[in-house]
Structures are given as structure tokens and as C-alpha cells.
């Protein structure tokens, strides 16, 4: 290809125009003629046998068409753990567990009737703390775990509450401790977090008498939804069509099954009318899945020169009542434990444990954000203990591409990225060596800190993607992908790549904004920041396939060997003789000779991607190759800590990632800023709170606070490193999730480095920080309180 391509240009996502004009339609906006509305009835108790459900009063409400209960669907579904019911069967496992579904002629009647379903419960002992839930005397939440259809890479322990026990053993950790000069040991806790996607979970489904189902859903992974629904309803995959219009955010929370199977069954039960279920925000908090809570116990050993020689950690995940996706989070948390560092001796146990709380699932960061929070603080503390600069201790331990092995024993390839350059860039961007700015008030502290991270998509080895490049009559291209688009811009980036393969302007390539399992190209899921990489490679191969067809035809028409031809600048050209050329327009729908004879036809290229490098992990030691790439990165912050209130304000955010190739700097910047803001919000504010019965007590956005405009840093700085990945699309790697992983760690490291206060609990909300300061450094707080009054007086006096 010659001339300037579109790869590397900051092209705005095409579908933004629809979004700013209000014409982008979401499942929430979807209606079919005659749609009925559904409403959940949820459990009021945390753990109980369902003795009886009386539907008489509910059914008597005018407009009610049907009420379904677990009896109508006595089976389990799931993707990894297979532990879920659609509606409670026999017993409820958390306060908020759906027990019935009312279907009525409109939301009002459905809500009215849902208040009138009478359920009789027989209480069972409940357990809310994951560590307690592992105890021998804890009530068992899933008695028949051995019957569940677990994917083979997970290790449930029937007879306990452990849904998965992941182990990683690398070297000999006890020997490592013997060699250590300093030991860091501590316990960390991470609260449950809500994905907070603004479009709540919702589904419209219709069953048809021909045995097919059509389902509209706000989902990240239509093909996985289809798989689970088909298996649950026992219908062939091609009888179920999952359609995904615009999606109002997912962040992992819409990756697995949501309510699709339930609503599809409801449609059948009401005589094949379409049924719509829209969760209220409270239901989304209390009856759906969020990010798990974690208790982590860590012990790390360092030698005097800063080398980490032993890292032992146990993660206990509060998986809640259902751990279908969280078993895989526990696995990822485990194998990501040692992050960007090469540690010779690692011992890690990561347990997903059932409790009588809300179910949990995947979330942006997928275990890596949680393990990073522990690891990066351990390194910061070690630096302080050893009297070493925070940057130096990292340099000593950083993975060396081409030489090092990760804790899972994977050799780090030369082309995976340049962690050293990332670190260096982070330090430059935050002016690490420079003098810190003074705080705005004497009771405040200005602090800088950073953290590094790495992440790859956590997917089964056989997860695959495909793409179709379809030429139209006017030589525009319909690029058919499966990967979803809820703000990441992946499809725009892949369009740019495809445009450059043919040397055409990017406007000539279009990806339909909606997905449809019957029409879209297959992709396993839109998760793990895999889309650009996996679907991008598939698209490039589809381009190759299309080009091959075009060159075959051109060779025939031009009477030149194929090897002497190339596709460039929207045409086929003879190499070295650019005047011998045919525009693509004249080839992609067949070539018409002057007399009307036509050869060839519509060009459709197809390609796929399946990684041949991934392996299962060894059940005993966790050794193997779990991901298809690693994106290295780091976050630095300049913060102001108010010692008096405990409030942290981020003044500057620095994000640096080795993206391989910046396909579209605008999209990259959107992800880096957006990821920072989400990471910061989770770091500083977000915590799902529970009462003593496991009820979510803050299922709303006033007391579950999400960062607003006023909370974001004034200054955002993003930089990227480009170490091309040889098997990535034009050298690129994924970035979507990575951008939020090291944010919390950077903030806590800034605090620890500057005032020596350890922040072991997420979120670091004002109360938490205040408590930590007053417990660990009461003199610091006292001094701050002292100055708190005085300066205001001084300011006043000056006025």
C-alpha cells in the first residue's frame, strides 16, 4: 500500500453521531408490537427453603397474564460454574434472589402484581463472610455442587462453599523467605463494586411457534448468551437469535447470561407474545451480579538489594450466592498475582467462596485490578523498608522480555512490550525527580505515586473470533464483526485497519452498530480487551482472503501472473508498472468485459483467529500460558490529601501503556481517560454496603457514589509506547480494561510514600483514610487539626 493510511489517525467513532442526536437505540428503547412487561419478585430473606408460593392475589390483578416460578424451570445454567437458577428452585440464597416473574400488560400492572406474590420461607442459617464461609461449621449454600456442570479448568470443592480453588506454585516460596532480608506481611480487603453501567440489565424476548426464539438484550457477548440459552432451553443454537442493539455500558457485568433465558421462557409461557424485562436500579444492585469482594493475605520476601524472592498470597473472593463467572476471576486473580515482576518463588491460592450475598461476576480489570492493589502496595512498602526509591525497586524486579518467565512459567517474548520504557515514561510524565508542588493548605499534603500493571485477556484456549469483509456494488465495504461496541471504539479501529489493507478511505468501511448471532461473524465474547487483537487479526485475514480473490480475478483480466500484482490505493496494480492498473470498483463485483461478458462476482473475504499459544493451566501448579498477549502499563497520580477529612483529590493523572501500535489515538485517549476515571471512582468512593442480613443498603447513586465531573483531575496526561506485537493487528494490543487496573494502587502508593499511612481497604473513601491516619499516625492528624484553624485565621487577617 502506498500513500497515507488511516491507521494512526484520531478518527472519531462513526456511531457517535447517532449518540449525540439521541437516535442510537438500546434494548431499553426496544419494543415489539404487543409487548408484555415483566417484573421480578425477589426474596426478602438471605437463606431459606421456599415452602410455598401463593400466586392467587398476584394473578387477580387486572392485566396480569402469567406468573412464573422456579417450578417452571427446575434446571441450572451457567458458563463456567453452571450453578445458577433462573428463578429460585427449592431455596433462596440471598436477600434479593428472584423467586418469581410476573408478566402483565404493561409495567404498572406487573409491578402492582409483584407486590402481591406471597412467599413462605423456612429460614436456614446464613453466612456472609467469605472466610467464615470456608469454616467447617459454615452452612453449605450449594449442597449439590458435584452435580454442577463445571468447566474442566475449575476446581470446586463439593461439601464446602468453595466454588473454585486455584493454586499456583512456582519455585519454593519457603526457601525464598529464608533468603529474604525483609518481609512484608499484611491483610487487604476490597469491597464489592457495582459495574454501574447506566443502562440497567434488560431484555426483550419472543418465542415463536416454529420453535425459534428472538432475543434483544443489552449484552456484551451475544454468542455466549446464545450458547447458554440454547443449552438451557434445549434447542439447537441456530433456533435462537440474539440481537444486541446499542449497549449502555457493560464493563464485564453484561458478559455472561443475564435474564435472556428467563424472559424467553416467559414469552413461551404467555402464548408466544414478546416480553420485556427492565431492571430498576435497585434490582440491578440487589438482584443481579456485581464485582466480588476480596480478602487477601500476603507475605512477601525481599533481599537487601530489592529483589523480591518470595511472594505468597491467598485471595478469598466473596463470590456471593452464584459464582458462575467469578470462578474464572479467582483464577485470573491467582495467576496475575506477581504482576509485572519476575519472582522466582511464588505460592498463590485463590478461592471463590459462596456466601449469602449478591452473586458476582466479571468486571473490567477481571481479578488483575484486585491482585494489583495488593502487589503494588507490597512493593511500595518494601521500597520504604529498604530505603530504596520506588522506581528502583521496580527496575530490579521488572520482567525482562526475551529472558524472564512469568509466575505461570510462560517465557516472556521479546515483542510483548517494553515495561522498562513504560516505567521510564511514567516517571518522566509525573516529573518523579522534580520537586513536589506545595500543598494548597498546611493541613493538606501533596503527594505523587505510581503503580505498574500488566494484563491480558483471560479466555479459554479455544476461544476464537471471525470476520467477514464484504464488498458492495459501489465498492464500499461491509465489515462484519462479532465484537461488540459499547464505547471502546474497537470497530472503528478495525475499520481503519481494513481500509488500509485496500488503500481506501476509512469512510468506505462500515461496521453495523448492532449484533445479531444470525448475521454477525462469530466471536467468543467482547471481554478482556481482546476485541482489537483477536477480531482485528481475523479481519486482516479476511482482507487477505478478499485480496486473494481480487488478485485471482485481476490476474485473469490483466493476463499477468498473480505474483506480479498487488492491491493498493483502491486498485490492483502491476508491481513496478503502476500504470497497469484496474480500480477495485471494476473487480469486486465481477469484471465486465466491453462485450458484456462477466467474470468473477461479489467478493467476500473471511478470516478467523484462534490462538495456538494458549494452554490449560496445570491443576496443581498453575503453570501454562493463560493469555494471548500482555499489555504493560502504568499510572501515576499527583494528589492532594486532606489530612483533616481524609478526602483525596486527584490533581493530575498520568497513564502510560505499551499499546504496540496506536491504531487510533483518539480512541486510545478516550479509554485511558475513561479508565482512569472509573479506576479512581472505584478507588475513592465505591462500595456496595450490606446489612446483617446481606441486604444491599445503598442500591442507588446517592449513597453508592460514582465520580462526577467535579471529581475528575484537572490535568490528564496520556502517553503510549509502541513495541509492535508480531502477531497483533498491525502490531497492536488491547487496552480497554488495562486503563483502570493500576489507578487505585497509584493513589494508595502516593499516600504511603508521602505520609507513611497504609491503606489496606478499598475504597479509600474519606472515612477509611481518616481512620487509617488516626490509627497509624495520630500525631499527623493532631498537627493537621492544629494548623487547620490557624491558617484560616491568617488568611482572614490578611483580607
Amino acid at each position: 500500500m502506498t500513500g497515507e493510511g488511516s491507521v494512526g489517525k484520531p478518527i472519531p467513532p462513526e456511531d457517535t453521531v447517532r449518540k449525540v442526536t439521541g437516535t442510537a437505540l438500546y434494548t431499553y428503547d426496544w419494543d415489539l408490537p404487543g409487548t408484555l412487561h415483566a417484573k421480578l419478585v425477589t426474596s426478602t430473606v438471605p437463606h431459606a427453603r421456599v415452602v410455598s408460593i401463593n400466586l392467587d392475589r398476584a394473578k387477580a390483578v387486572p392485566g396480569v397474564v402469567a406468573v412464573l416460578t422456579g417450578k417452571d424451570m427446575p434446571f441450572r445454567v451457567g458458563m463456567y460454574a453452571g450453578d445458577r437458577d433462573l428463578l429460585a428452585v427449592e431455596k433462596v440464597r440471598w436477600a434479593g434472589h428472584p423467586v418469581a416473574l410476573v408478566v402483565a400488560e404493561g409495567p404498572e400492572a406487573a409491578e402492582r402484581a409483584s407486590e402481591l406474590v406471597d412467599v413462605e420461607y423456612e429460614s436456614l442459617p446464613a453466612v456472609f463472610d467469605p472466610v467464615r464461609a470456608m469454616g467447617a461449621d459454615a452452612p453449605i449454600i450449594h449442597e449439590r455442587m458435584e452435580e454442577y456442570k463445571h468447566a474442566s479448568v475449575f476446581y470446586p470443592v463439593p461439601g464446602t462453599n468453595m466454588a473454585n480453588r486455584f493454586r499456583l506454585v512456582h519455585g519454593d516460596v519457603e526457601k525464598g523467605f529464608e533468603q529474604s532480608d525483609e518481609i512484608i506481611e499484611d491483610e487487604f480487603r476490597i469491597s464489592h463494586v457495582s459495574h454501574g453501567y447506566l443502562e440497567t440489565q434488560n431484555v426483550v424476548a419472543q418465542a415463536f411457534r416454529d420453535g425459534t426464539f428472538e432475543i434483544w438484550t443489552s449484552a456484551q457477548s451475544p454468542f455466549i448468551v446464545r450458547q447458554i440459552v440454547s443449552e438451557a432451553l434445549k434447542v439447537p443454537y441456530n433456533r435462537v437469535t440474539i440481537r444486541v442493539p446499542f449497549v449502555g455500558g457493560g464493563f464485564g457485568g453484561k458478559a455472561g447470561l443475564q435474564w435472556e433465558a428467563l424472559v424467553a421462557l416467559a414469552s413461551k409461557a404467555v402464548g408466544y407474545r414478546p416480553v420485556k424485562l427492565v431492571l430498576s436500579r435497585k434490582e440491578n444492585f440487589a438482584s443481579s451480579a456485581s464485582r466480588e469482594g476480596v480478602v487477601a493475605n500476603v507475605k512477601a520476601g525481599f533481599t537487601r538489594d530489592g529483589k523480591c524472592v518470595a511472594y505468597k498470597v491467598r485471595f478469598v473472593l466473596d463470590a456471593g450466592a452464584y459464582a458462575d463467572y467469578t470462578v474464572n476471576v479467582s483464577r485470573a486473580m491467582g495467576y496475575s498475582a506477581e504482576g509485572v515482576y519476575e519472582v522466582p518463588n511464588v505460592h498463590c491460592e485463590s478461592l471463590a467462596v459462596y456466601t449469602n450475598k449478591i452473586p458476582t461476576t466479571a468486571m473490567r480489570g477481571f481479578g488483575y485490578a484486585e491482585s494489583n492493589w495488593v502487589l503494588e502496595q507490597v512493593f511500595e512498602r518494601a521500597a520504604k523498608k529498604l530505603g530504596m526509591d520506588s522506581a528502583k525497586i521496580r527496575r530490579v524486579n521488572l520482567l525482562r522480555p526475551g529472558e524472564s518467565h512469568t509466575a505461570t512459567g510462560e517465557k516472556v517474548r521479546e515483542d510483548v512490550g517494553d515495561p522498562r520504557k513504560v516505567l521510564q515514561t511514567v516517571l518522566e510524565a509525573i516529573d518523579w525527580e522534580g520537586k513536589a508542588e506545595p500543598a494548597s493548605q498546611p493541613w493538606k499534603v501533596r503527594a505523587r505515586g505510581f503503580a505498574l500493571c500488566v494484563k491480558g485477556p483471560s479466555q479459554p484456549p479455544n476461544a476464537s473470533s471471525s470476520a467477514i469483509v464484504k464488498f458492495n456494488e459501489d465498492s464500499t465495504i461491509d465489515l462484519v464483526l462479532g465484537t461488540g461496541n459499547f464505547g471502546q471504539g474497537t470497530t472503528t479501529a478495525i475499520s481503519q485497519i481494513v481500509a488500509d489493507q485496500f488503500g481506501v478511505p476509512v469512510e468506505r468501511v462500515r461496521v453495523d452498530p448492532t449484533r445479531d448471532t444470525g448475521k454477525s461473524a462469530y466471536t467468543w465474547q467482547t471481554v478482556g480487551s481482546r476485541g482489537l487483537f483477536t477480531d482485528g487479526v481475523a479481519a486482516m485475514r479476511a482482507c487477505d482472503d478478499a485480496k486473494d480473490q481480487i488478485l485471482d480475478l485481476a490476474s485473469q483480466v490483466m493476463r499477468l501472473p498473480k505474483s506480479e500484482l498487488e492491491v493498493a490505493d483502491d486498485a490492483v496494480k502491476a508491481k513496478g508498472r503502476p500504470w497497469l492498473t484496474i480500480p477495485l470498483r471494476d473487480l469486486v463485483f465481477g469484471y465486465v468485459y466491453p462485450n458484456g461478458n462477466t467474470v468473477g462476482g461479489p467478493v467476500i473475504g473471511r478470516g478467523h483467529f484462534t490462538s495456538s499459544l494458549n494452554t490449560f493451566l496445570d491443576p496443581q501448579t498453575g503453570q501454562g500460558v493463560p493469555t494471548i498477549f500482555h499489555t504493560f502499563g502504568g499510572t501515576a497520580v499527583d494528589i492532594e490529601l486532606d489530612l483533616v477529612t481524609g478526602a483525596i483529590e486527584v490533581l493530575k493523572a498520568v497513564q502510560v501503556f505499551d499499546v504496540g501500535k496506536a491504531i487510533n489515538p483518539l480512541l486510545l485517549k478516550m479509554q485511558l481517560d475513561g479508565g482512569f476515571i472509573m479506576g479512581m471512582s472505584i478507588a475513592l468512593f465505591e462500595k456496595i454496603k450490606f446489612d446483617e442480613q446481606g441486604w444491599v443498603t445503598n442500591p442507588n447513586f446517592t449513597s453508592y457514589y460514582i465520580a462526577r465531573m467535579k471529581d475528575v483531575p484537572k490535568d490528564f496526561e496520556a502517553r503510549y509506547v509502541e513495541t509492535p506485537q508480531f502477531d497483533g493487528p498491525m502490531g497492536a494490543r488491547g487496552i480497554g480494561e488495562m486503563s483502570m487496573i493500576s489507578v487505585a494502587s497509584a493513589i494508595s502508593n502516593a499516600v504511603f510514600r508521602t505520609v507513611g499511612v497504609k491503606l489496606n481497604n478499598l475504597p479509600m473513601n474519606p472515612e477509611e483514610v481518616w481512620r487509617a491516619i488516626s490509627e497509624q499516625k495520630p500525631e499527623l492528624l493532631a498537627k493537621a487539626m492544629e494548623s487547620f484553624g490557624r491558617i484560616e485565621a491568617a488568611v482572614k487577617a490578611r483580607q
Binding site: 409495567p107 427492565v278 430498576s280 468512593f685 472515612e767 484553624g789 484560616e792 482572614k796
Partner: protein
């Protein structure tokens, strides 16, 4: 308290939009227990979605002319009608230096869209522990004018709020106005801390008046307990003027004496600390 709503539709009710106070009172007389008044509806609609309230009649007072006024009545004070939205009240410029505490409290209520709808009277009558107007009104010795079938009565805001979501108001009664008494030379201010929440974790309203011989100070804390709480011990410390030492002692005393509760937003011990912080802040500002 208000924990979120599983429902998104409202219970059935008949909507009334009376134009005069007499009409409102007649409706209240007729529907009594089954009716709820609506000012801005911000609280009422949320409560109805949660089914904490399921009135069969909703009486919207926004178009009652008599209630839509802010009047400066010589010798009495400022009378603020029940239909006046917070935004209108702020824009009207009637809250002067003397009522700074109320102005400061209202200016930071929620956001401009909610302030456009919500009324001062509604904010007061909602009486959830976290709202900001009750402590401010108490610091100003404000009272409410209540109208009902038995005529009118007037009572202090401090007596009007009996508990969380519990006000001294009969089923056929309504609040027509809030009255902020005149007090020449009074100075007042408001402070709150909301870190990581939309609502106050703790708020303080203070007023110091030196009208006549008797000097008086009020320190009222919001959001820390189920109703706003005064701290007489700390008030006494600042009655005769402020000094750095007095500020410190008042802040410490309030922190020690004011009883605080744990709730979904904060623990009692943090609130005690916040009381010290916001008291210091607000009093320094007044020095």
C-alpha cells in the same frame, strides 16, 4: 430509610392542582388521610416509587398563588411560601446576610435541576435526617405556619420536626409558609461535608445574634442523628464573640457532646470527627 426503589411506576392516585389555599384546605378536609401534598415532588415521587407512601390523592400546591410568594413582613420577618422552589428563593435575592445560613445551605442542595423543582417547605417536610434546610432553619429560629380545618397555628421548626420522616402535622393540615424572624445584626453560616456521597455526612448551621442586650448563639447539626441536634454547651462558648481559642473549644465540645449515629453514609465516630472539622470551618469563617 430511603434505600432505593425496586419500582419505577407510581401507585394510583388522583392528581389535584388547586389554585387557592381554600381549595387546598377543602381537598385536605375531604381526602385527609389518603392525600399527600406535593411541592416539588422530588421527595414525594421517590417515596411513592418506594411505596413508603401510597396516597390516593396528590395535591400539587405549586399553582396556589398565595403560596408562591416570598414576603418581607416588617416586624415579623421573611415569609416563604410552600410553592416557592429553592431556585426561585435563591434567585429572588431575599436571603440577605442575616439569613446567610439558609442561603448557603440551599445553594448546595443537590443540583440545579433538583433545586428548580424542590421547595424549601418540601425539603423541610421530607424530614429525612440528611436534608440540609432543617438545621439552617433551626439556627434562624424559624417557624412554620400550619393551616388546617381548625384554623392556623404556628410552631418552631425545632418542634415541628419530631423524628426521622416524622413531622408535627395532622392529616388535614399543611404547611403554608416558613417564617424566618427578623434579627438585626445576626450573622450566620452553613457548612457540610459530603465526601463520597450526594448527601451530607454531617452539616452544621450556626447563627450568632447580638440584637439587644441578650446575645445568643445557635449551633445545629444535621445528618449526624435522626433529627437535627443543637449543642447548647458549645453555643455557650461562642455567645460572647469568637476567638481562636473559643472556636477550638466549641468544636471540641460539640464533637464530644453531640450524639451521632451510624448509618449507610458514615459511622458515628467519623461523624464526631467531622463535627469538629465543620464547626472549626464554619466558625473561622464567621470570625
Amino acid at each position: 430509610m430511603s434505600f432505593g426503589s425496586p419500582y419505577v411506576t407510581l401507585p394510583d392516585f388522583t392528581y389535584h392542582r388547586p389554585k387557592s389555599l381554600d381549595e387546598v384546605l377543602a381537598l385536605l378536609k375531604e381526602h385527609g388521610d389518603e392525600a399527600k401534598l406535593m411541592g416539588g415532588g422530588v421527595g414525594l415521587i421517590a417515596f411513592m416509587k418506594e411505596r413508603l407512601m401510597s396516597p390516593t390523592h396528590v395535591i400539587d400546591v405549586k399553582e396556589v398563588a398565595e403560596l408562591g410568594q416570598v414576603r418581607q413582613v416588617p416586624g415579623e420577618g421573611l415569609r416563604i411560601g410552600a410553592a416557592v422552589s429553592i431556585a426561585e428563593l435563591l434567585e429572588g435575592g431575599d436571603l440577605k446576610t442575616e439569613q446567610a445560613v439558609l442561603r448557603e445551605a440551599l445553594a448546595r442542595v443537590a443540583d440545579p435541576m433538583i433545586r428548580r423543582r424542590a421547595t424549601l417547605v418540601g425539603n423541610l417536610c421530607e424530614a429525612i435526617p440528611w436534608v440540609d434546610s432543617p438545621p439552617a432553619l433551626m439556627a434562624l429560629d424559624a417557624s412554620v405556619e400550619v393551616a388546617g380545618p381548625e384554623g392556623r397555628r404556628s410552631l418552631l421548626v425545632s418542634d415541628f420536626i419530631r423524628g426521622p420522616v416524622d413531622i408535627d402535622l395532622g392529616p388535614n393540615e399543611m404547611v403554608t409558609e416558613v417564617v424566618v424572624p427578623e434579627s438585626k445584626g445576626r450573622r450566620s453560616a452553613f457548612e457540610k461535608f459530603t465526601g463520597g456521597s450526594e448527601f451530607s455526612l454531617a452539616s452544621v448551621a450556626v447563627s450568632v445574634s447580638n440584637g439587644g442586650k441578650k446575645r445568643a448563639a445557635k449551633l445545629v447539626y444535621g445528618a449526624v442523628n435522626s433529627t437535627p441536634v443543637r449543642c447548647p454547651e458549645a453555643e455557650r462558648l461562642i455567645e460572647d464573640g469568637l476567638s481562636p481559642t473559643k472556636v477550638r473549644r466549641a468544636a471540641e465540645t460539640a464533637s464530644e457532646k453531640v450524639e451521632c449515629l451510624d448509618d449507610v453514609l458514615a459511622t458515628a465516630s467519623y461523624r464526631k470527627h467531622l463535627i469538629k472539622v465543620i464547626t472549626t470551618q464554619v466558625l473561622w469563617r464567621m470570625m
